[in-house]
């Protein structure tokens, strides 16, 4: 079990940002990585929005498994392919104003030469009484073409490029390194 928890970098968006936030040149001095985010997307008609993860800039085939709870209904999806890079949720464009979702993304053994994985626990509460919300948990496997350490991680909303994938101003992301000894 990790016995240290070191903040590597953090960033708060001062402006809406379409193509996500990338942590690059991640140092190789830790055992695991953790990202915490308080975030909100802008995708219209969605109360919660997916978070897209890109590791080392790879557009190869990712695999994901996602479990959701929306109010009292559960659902699941997943698969493999270049589009299966979504893991976790934050608040969406039609969530209550100024509400941000929150979540944690864990990247174990990120220096390993074997398959890279990520795990997420996240959720978005849209109203003060909790009447509408969505939580999302799941796991993601990076493309097998990534054989070295994870050196960069990008987080963005669903779709990216356009307003639909934008993370809004005020979203805050923290990258932590954990050491096992």
């Amino acid at each position: 079990m990790a016995n240290t928890y070191t903040l590597i970098q953090s960033y708060t968006l001062a402006s809406d940002t379409a193509n996500g936030v990338t942590f690059s040149n991640i140092p190789n001095t830790y055992t695991h990585l953790i990202i915490n985010m308080s975030g909100r997307g802008t995708r219209s008609t969605y109360n919660s929005d997916d978070v897209r993860i890109t590791i080392n800039g790879s557009t190869g085939s990712y695999s994901n498994i996602r479990l959701y709870g929306t109010n009292n209904t559960s659902s699941a999806d997943g698969g493999a392919g270049s589009g299966q890079t979504y893991l976790g949720v934050v608040a969406g464009g039609t969530a209550t104003a100024n509400v941000f979702g929150n979540g944690e993304w864990f990247f174990p053994n990120y220096l390993s030469s074997t398959l890279k994985n990520a795990y997420a626990n996240s959720g978005s509460v849209e109203s003060s009484n909790g009447a509408l919300y969505q939580m999302g948990i799941g796991s993601l496997s990076a493309p097998t073409s990534i054989t070295g350490a994870i050196t960069s991680i990008k987080l963005e909303g669903y779709g990216s490029v356009s307003n639909n994938g934008t993370l809004t101003a005020g979203s805050t992301i923290y990258l932590y390194g954990l050491k096992s000894t």
Partner: protein, 81 residues
């Protein structure tokens, strides 16, 4: 409010690179927005259709079980884990 194209934080140097949109990219955004929204709606529709299909199968399976009628393979799959 200014909208950024991307943000990169260099974890080694601490440098933050905030890249704004060019005018040409801003012009293209409205087209891309429509494309992404269409894709998002398609994905949502597919998910809802699958949920409706499973719900209907459950109702059908329950009705047949009560009536003592044979289930289809698809209905039986719902009951066998």
């Amino acid at each position: 409010m200014t909208k950024l194209k991307s943000v990169e934080i260099n974890c080694t140097t601490g440098e933050v690179i905030e890249t704004p949109y060019t005018e040409a990219e801003l012009t293209d955004l409205s087209i891309l927005e429509t494309q992404w929204e269409t894709e998002a709606q398609t994905r949502r529709d597919e998910k809802e259709a699958e949920e409706t299909r499973i719900a209907n199968l459950k109702v059908s399976a329950k009705t047949k079980l009560i009536a003592g009628e044979p289930l289809t393979a698809e209905e039986a799959d719902l009951l066998v884990i």
